[in-house]
Symmetry: C2
Subunit: 322 residues, 2 copies
């Protein structure tokens, strides 16, 4: 089976997940062709997941399919973009049809949920690795960048944090938990839903945004640096899920929420007066967790207003590279 035939066979469902809007030509030629409505720009991001580094070698291929696309599409949410499509570069050792079919099914599930189509790809033989490049569209000038936070803004997140870090010992088989704790955590790890609707709503409202992948404090540091401001996080306002709290206990759950990676929940700043319309639209999972000040860096305050900022420990690749 040739490359296109392979993609067509296993990935047919993912290739038509979006309904065709914006996709002029999909899989099967030298390039895919995308179109943009007048006045819109293309948002592009690339993410790689490597077996043994970003996921366990022996994990469920269907869950991996979901997660690999979700992680990449989250960057579109962070820019306030509407998803269009994605390319898949899949490097595989000797892997059978059952693996491919399950992976494709998981990928397709997430593609349908995000309304984006597989438009092209490359399949190669080698150590298992997945690179997905996502494409979205956003009205010119309205993309959510990291650089616009202003003193006086409030700092918000789009949902409870730390679930993915909490799930990790379960994913790795190092710990067990009752189903009512394990299921929500594992579900967040394997299917972190890209907050595309929230991101789109924040266009013209948020002054800065990103998706939390390195950990809350590290990612707040990225906004602070890009915007030239200080961010103040109130520990008492940082949301953690009941499942995480039950599984790890209160202190460790908060630690996971502050420094755990892979949450793919949006963090954003906006003027306080923009909060009411946000709430009225039913985004009940938006939590105010702090504010933007003049200065630089990120500070963490306890319930009494004491500065308890830890040394930041967000996950970053190549942090040891000179």
């Amino acid at each position: 089976m040739g490359e296109f035939e392979l993609i067509n066979h296993y990935f047919a469902s993912a290739a038509c997940a979006q309904g065709g809007e914006g996709v002029v030509l999909g899989i099967g030629d030298d390039c895919a062709l995308l179109s943009l409505p007048p006045g819109e720009q293309l948002a592009v991001s690339t993410d790689t997941l490597v077996a043994g580094v970003h996921f366990p070698d022996a994990c469920d291929p269907g869950l991996l399919g979901q997660r690999s696309l979700a992680v990449a599409a989250s960057d579109l949410a962070a820019m306030g973009a509407t998803a269009i499509g994605f390319t898949l570069a899949l490097t595989l050792p000797e892997v059978g049809p059952a693996w491919l079919q399950a992976y494709a099914n998981g990928l397709s599930r997430m593609a349908h949920r995000c309304r984006m189509s597989l438009v092209g790809g490359d399949t190669t033989r080698g150590p298992l690795s997945i690179t997905i490049t996502v494409f979205g569209r956003v009205p010119a000038g309205q993309a959510l960048r990291r650089s616009g936070a202003r003193p006086g803004d409030v700092l918000c997140v789009g949902g409870p944090l730390g679930n993915a870090a909490g799930a990790l010992p379960l994913v790795l088989g190092q710990r067990q938990a009752p189903a009512e704790q394990a299921e929500p955590l594992l579900n967040h790890y394997w299917a972190p839903m890209p907050q595309l609707t929230l991101g789109q709503w924040l266009r013209g409202s948020a002054t800065a945004a990103l998706d939390i992948s390195d950990g809350l404090l590290a990612d707040c540091g990225h906004i602070a640096k890009a915007s030239g401001v200080a961010l103040q996080v109130n520990l008492a306002q940082v949301p953690v899920s009941p499942a995480l709290q039950a599984f790890l206990g209160h202190d460790a759950a908060l630690q996971a929420a502050l420094t755990g990676g892979d949450d793919y929940v949006l963090a954003f700043t906006l003027p306080p007066e923009a909060l009411a319309p946000l709430a009225s639209l039913g985004f009940i999972e938006v939590h105010v967790i702090g504010r933007v000040l003049e200065g630089q860096g990120v500070t963490l305050l306890d319930r009494d207003g004491q500065d308890i900022t830890p040394v930041q420990r967000g996950y970053q690749h190549f942090r040891e590279t000179p």
Copy 2:
């Protein structure tokens, strides 16, 4: 050093190779932003190169940098697109600054030659692998597809074939050759210049096009199938370089030209009357090698018009997958 800092440090030259046209926002946020002129569409393609599969583990990183971008950008040439930019997903084991700097220098050289900018990427730790996704622009409806070849068209290629296949034993250190043979072959292997100008000129003129990566006969088969026609190749007209002929001898050189992969030379069909303007524009490396007929499949004719079609042996990943 963080991911953005790493990219900024080593890849700064590649990031500004294109002069900014079409790139609204480059490296450093959740997504890059690209814009298109009114009436144009975006062309997208992804290619992965895996160490030990697509290049020797210990190869020169500067040459690898050149080649990794050239191979991907060739798909833009095959669509008649003008290059805009690319993302780089680089997976590295423990690799030092010298390797990264040399790789980035080679990548940047090719980026400048193709006038395209690095707009984003992901660096991860793992077995050495490179996935590049390229972006170009093409006027709506004018992209060169594989499906438009018509009986009566002539079949052309954009230069001599087989050089990359001929270079392979040199690349792998299995054979040696005098410099006047080795240099042109190795240069073609490591820096196969994407025929972007030729592809752009062919817009509105060629009826079908692709870049030869699987081998001439296999790729002609792709055009024949997509267009619903037969392609006839005249062996006597298939161009081989003097270096390849000297290195391999006449018969093996032709064999490399017919079935060797990795040439990244354009193959295209067009009405005979479009040939004269092509020649007048100075594309002296365009060779007519056959014609389009009613029917299906690819036939190869010798100097006397005898059908000598071999079993096709173009390189294809996963051809053994059921």
